[in-house]
Symmetry: C2
Subunit: 219 residues, 2 copies
């Protein structure tokens, strides 16, 4: 119903933020909120909030505002968090472990059903209640277990070969923590990247920029 228009990327990126703030409001017992109030809390303009929400239909009511619970649930539906996409994690190193332990996949439309590594010391051990399997068993596992998405927590050099294997298995949705640019190599896949190195460098830039502005002032 609300998917008929093509929603632009900037709007989509803001949706989780709306979801987060509305969830908080609901937890605090707030029943309704105006775009103006939400603007104050979130730092988006009221106009943008109204535009954004209207991409998906008229959730609000003139003179009243938006019903918090309803809007919260609707945005959850739009994001698709009521799905249960089966995901596997590739790489049980520090980062992979942290992702497996730390993320509530179930609250975000996913279920983690398998973890793979090629380190014999890790294979057979478990994270949470999930056994770490041999990467060699990837094909067998994915054939026997419907697998919708893969999470990449392996070094850059290992990605391409594994991605090829997954692609052959028909798995084309990726949450990519590696620094390998999947989308450059396949064009009918869905990728969401988490480039931690890039993020840290951007912080470095921002700090350096702020300092250099200060330097200019004193010069």
């Amino acid at each position: 119903m609300y998917r008929n228009k093509n929603i632009s990327a900037p709007v989509i990126k803001r949706l989780p933020r709306y979801y987060r703030f509305l969830g908080e409001l609901q937890a605090n017992g707030v029943k309704r909120i105006s775009s103006r109030e939400l603007s104050d809390k979130m730092g988006f303009t009221a106009s943008q909030i109204r535009q954004d929400l209207n991409c998906f239909g008229g959730f609000g009511q003139q003179g009243y505002g938006y019903p918090v619970e309803n809007l919260y649930n609707e945005i959850g539906n739009i994001l698709g968090i009521n799905n249960t996409y089966n995901a596997i994690l590739i790489g049980a190193g520090n980062l992979g472990k942290a992702v497996a332990m730390h993320m509530s996949f179930e609250k975000r439309g996913f279920r983690l059903i398998g973890i793979f590594d090629n380190d014999p010391a890790k294979i057979g051990t478990g994270i949470r209640d999930i056994r770490i399997s041999d990467l060699d068993d990837l094909e067998e596992f994915c054939t026997n277990n419907k697998t919708d998405a893969a999470v990449f927590c392996v070094p850059k050099g290992a990605v391409q070969r594994i991605a090829d294997r997954l692609y052959k298995l028909g798995i084309k949705n990726f949450w990519n923590f590696s620094h390998y640019d999947l989308s450059v190599h396949y064009d009918d896949i869905i990728v969401e990247n988490v480039h931690l190195n890039d993020s840290l460098m951007i912080l470095c830039y921002k700090i350096s920029e702020a300092n250099s502005i200060l330097d200019d002032t004193t010069a």
Copy 2:
């Protein structure tokens, strides 16, 4: 020299990607590259690449292209990765541990000089060669050790109080992995957010959207 113009956020976000690709080219012994070739590799338009690079001055040469090594180094300088900003990590849970173990802070303009947690079982143990300190000793540590930035790997509820303490200590640069919106609460701070939950939800949206388009086709 190259900081006199105000560089727009979209350009800054692309810089680490340029840096990554140019580093690879250099590693492969490539000496020069045209915006056209870079466009093919990176997926940006050649026009955009020329515009971006020109924000910082004329690195290229007509009829020749861009010298890879020089451009790589220059973008590194622009990003500020030759700095050594002292960073502390707040929170030594799964995510904090992974960030401490996994990230090459030194290659990105930072040095990790301290880790803090309030869990007695963790205090005194170490990650890499860094001792985990009691969160209570934060003020003492930061007074004795110049601290430029803090990495937040603690649950949402714990952030505000710690952020206040850091702010009082004059620490206003944050790499924020928590779901607490720092920038809403302080306006003279620098924050780079890594919202993993948001990222996972966006992947969920993309998958759901792709599926619903398929559904529409069959309907």
